[in-house]
């Protein structure tokens, strides 16, 4: 079966490992880390019942972090020849050397620590790479768009949207022996149907394109546009509203930046002094779970720590937040240590250095069982 670009030239874990060996030879730092990201991405965009943008991209990037006695910095390149790697290592080291020492910076984790063998319950490795998704061609996408336009025509509507597919890989290696690798595919369809004075929208994505049903998505968006035709104005005020899941996420999505240990320590979270209290309705249960079958994403974080399933809210009560390694260490020594619930690295840290620490990224609301 042909790949996204006719022939796959995605980086393998073995090639990345060899590249990391070269990086280590070029570096004089106490510790070295490299994050590899690569993707083949294609997107067909349509509007006014016409394909008006159609793009494909192939790119691989390597980001190098070096540590010198509590000082760390990062440099990034998308060229993998020796000279480019040497330059990126040198840039990272030069930046690291002029930093003030960071007392919270930890040594890089080894494989045992990163895999959660020292505590917590890590999620199992995930299989999220599907050949059928990677093999979608521009002509395949055009045919799907044609079927969506056909639905629009049936309902006398105008449609706009996207159909994209990608295969990507991400890996992290460090000089403590850590070597994590993840490969996944993703297909996404997003459709807007426009009528004279109304519109409807529907979107779905999945690593497995066979899980997407373009016709159903198009019909659903069309039905929403038809059902909301001729809207009338209502006065501003307080109403009971029912929101579809995507609208709920739009409203609450930004809230999850605050379910972070650093946000608590920085006193910029709405959860300051509120963990353990009921802030939501009793029927609200929220967890972060990268392994949920409807989720996508990496099973490890920006330092390579394996991601854990974390119950954030239970029966409306905020139970805990997520942690990067250094945040957990700092929280344990802080004045909040006894009031914020369990404190341990949960595999939600961003690549270092960064100022925001961590956040949950695979939010799952559990339906009420009442």
């Amino acid at each position: 079966m042909p790949h996204l670009y006719g022939k796959s030239d995605m980086l393998t874990k073995e090639q990345a490992s060899d590249t990391f060996d070269r990086i280590r030879r070029f570096s004089s730092a106490d510790e070295v880390e490299a994050i590899f990201t690569g993707s083949h991405f294609a997107l067909t965009r349509f509007a006014n019942n016409t394909i008006h943008q159609n793009v494909e991209e192939e790119n691989s990037v390597i980001s190098i972090r070096t540590n010198f006695a509590g000082r760390t910095a990062r440099a990034t390149t998308n060229q993998f020849d020796d000279e480019s790697l040497r330059r990126a290592v040198e840039a990272s080291e030069n930046l690291a050397r002029v930093q003030a020492p960071d007392p919270d910076l930890l040594p890089m984790p080894d494989a045992q620590e990163a895999d959660g063998m020292t505590g917590g319950t890590p999620v199992a490795p995930l299989c999220r790479s599907f050949e059928q998704t990677a093999a979608i061609t521009p002509a395949d996408r055009a045919e799907v768009v044609k079927s969506i336009v056909s639905v629009a025509g049936t309902h006398k509507l105008t449609t706009a949207g996207i159909y994209s597919n990608s295969e990507s890989e991400e890996g992290i290696f460090n000089s403590s022996g850590l070597a994590n690798w993840h490969r996944q595919t993703l297909a996404e369809i997003s459709i807007t149907m426009l009528a004279e004075d109304s519109s409807g929208w529907q979107k779905a994505n999945s690593p497995d394109v066979s899980k997407l049903d373009p016709k159903w998505l198009a019909e659903t968006a069309a039905q929403k546009a038809v059902a909301s035709a001729h809207p009338r104005e209502i006065a501003p005020g307080k109403y009971t509203v029912i929101l579809e899941p995507a609208a709920v996420l739009d409203i609450v999505g930004f809230m999850f930046w605050d379910f972070s240990g650093v946000a608590i320590l920085d006193q910029r979270s709405f959860l300051n002094d509120r963990i353990g209290t009921r802030l939501f309705g009793e029927n609200i249960n929220i967890c972060d779970d990268v392994a949920h079958p409807l989720q996508a994403g990496l099973p490890f974080d920006g330092e390579g720590m394996r991601r854990q399933r974390v119950q954030l809210v239970e029966n409306g009560v905020v139970k805990r937040v997520v942690y990067a390694r250094a945040t957990a260490e700092k929280m344990k020594k802080s004045e909040y240590a006894t009031t914020v619930g369990p404190i341990e690295p949960t595999g939600h840290g961003f690549p270092l250095p960064n100022e925001v620490g961590e956040m949950p990224m695979n939010i799952v609301f559990r339906a009420s069982e009442a």
């Binding site: 067909t44 793009v55 192939e58 790119n59 691989s60 521009p138 706009a160 426009l194 910029r268």
Partner: protein, 427 residues
């Protein structure tokens, strides 16, 4: 249209990318209503670099860290400050545009930005103050001289003290009021309620699935009273407008930078256009606004420097406040919200002062205002003059699928608006 992007430059990789682009374009042609029509444009051969006095990349990291740490120390010296954030950003972007029509354009753009924020957490409330603007500070297409002129250290303590003082100030009242907006907030108001709705791709529905559409349907061109007689807005990418984030010599389809009158004495007179969209408004030539985030993105219509022109009669901010009997002066954006047609909006600011009989009489916290785009701009009855005009930079404008983030410029002076709904966000 088909685009194929690769990071390798070898002849075989380039040939393969070109062949794939052709294949993609042919696939696009399977679902179309009419052919693409590009407005003619003469081939250009040019070399251009952002004018600057000091190349920011010749300054040392140590020097810049030292400056930021001095700002940090000033803010954290204020009792009640619980978090201080500072940042500095330099970018150099080199691009080559070559077309089968004969264009060969090499541009090197520099941009420089810096800013900081002091946060104060107390009780159950967080207050913050930023300088010289929120969300990354002030950005322009200039060199390091931008940093040297910003008086970063000199303003740090005042800003931090204001963040703490907000906790003791009164809540912005809810109701209808005269408001005076500082230039940075007016810049964002322009961005959201003028800059986005005049993007012709939005008007034509091309962004309907993501960024949204526009209330400015084409029959409104030349007919709509967008604002009061004092409202004069241009989209100007030329260097003579200033070193904005939307300043360049040529856009990313080889069209020379231009100045387009957008609102003239209150009347709606122009859109942001491209070669593909120009014919839809009867224009013979693109307005030169097509830009891409980088080598791996498709250029699309983006704001250049969409600026409101200053008032012609001399008027400072203090004179404007002095001439206001009863109102609220609001400074520095804290939040923004506007619908997908860019018609119904609400903004929050970091700080405000109540004005009584021409004087600031008390500080107000959590100020917000809301309105309808055309009603709002028609309520503007004063705007300060050139001395108060600043070309603000918005470095984080997102649009398109896949999403692209580019910088835009917005020149503005403080201005006054009558009968504005205030305080609803916190009521």
């Amino acid at each position: 249209m088909g685009i194929r992007r690769v990071r390798r430059f070898g002849p075989r990789a380039v040939e393969a990318a070109a062949a794939r682009a052709v294949e993609i374009a042919k696939a696009s042609a399977r679902v179309k209503q009419e052919d693409v029509r590009l407005a003619p444009e003469p081939a250009a051969v040019a070399e251009w670099t952002t004018p600057f006095k000091v190349d920011p990349f010749t300054t040392s990291v140590e020097q810049n860290l030292d400056l930021l740490l001095r700002v940090d120390a000033e803010m954290r010296a204020v009792s009640g400050v619980t978090l201080a954030e500072t940042g500095m950003n330099f970018q150099r972007e080199e691009s080559w545009f070559l077309s089968s029509e004969g264009s060969d354009i090499h541009q090197t753009k520099y941009s420089t930005g810096a800013g900081y924020t002091a946060y104060a957490f107390a009780g159950s409330e967080i207050q913050k103050r930023s300088y010289p603007n929120s969300f990354g500070g002030q950005w322009q297409n200039r060199g390091y001289e931008q940093i040297e002129e910003m008086k970063l250290v000199e303003n740090a303590r005042r800003v931090a003290e204001e963040a703490v003082a907000l906790h003791k100030s009164d809540q912005c009242p809810e109701g209808t009021s005269t408001i005076v907006l500082d230039g940075s907030q007016l810049g964002l108001q322009i961005h959201e309620s003028i800059g986005h709705p005049i993007e012709l791709d939005r008007v034509l529905g091309m962004e309907a699935n993501f960024a949204g559409t526009s209330f400015l349907t084409i029959e409104k061109l030349g007919n709509l009273r967008y604002g009061s007689e004092l409202v004069n807005v241009v989209a100007d990418a030329r260097q003579e407008h200033g070193p904005g984030l939307g300043t360049f010599a040529y856009d990313d389809e080889g069209v020379a930078a231009q100045a387009t009158p957008i609102i003239t004495n209150g009347r709606f007179t122009g859109y942001l256009s491209s070669r593909e969209t120009a014919h839809t408004i009867g224009a013979a030539r693109s307005g030169g606004t097509l830009r891409a985030e980088g080598w791996n993105r498709l250029p699309m219509i983006r704001m250049t420097n969409v600026s409101i022109l200053p008032g012609e009669k001399p008027l400072s901010l203090e004179q404007l406040i002095g001439a206001t009997d009863d109102g609220i002066y609001m400074e520095t954006n804290k939040s923004w919200s506007i619908d997908d047609k860019r018609y119904n909006f609400q903004f929050g600011c970091e700080i405000a002062w109540e004005i009584k009989n021409g004087k600031r009489v008390r500080m107000l916290k959590n100020p917000s205002y809301s309105g309808i785009t055309t009603e709002f701009w028609n309520s503007m009855d004063e705007i300060c003059s050139r001395d108060e005009w600043t070309l603000w930079g918005t470095p984080n404008c997102g649009k398109g699928q896949p999403q692209q983030v580019v910088g835009t410029g917005h020149g503005a002076s403080p201005a006054r608006f009558r009968n504005i709904r205030v305080g609803s966000a916190y009521s």
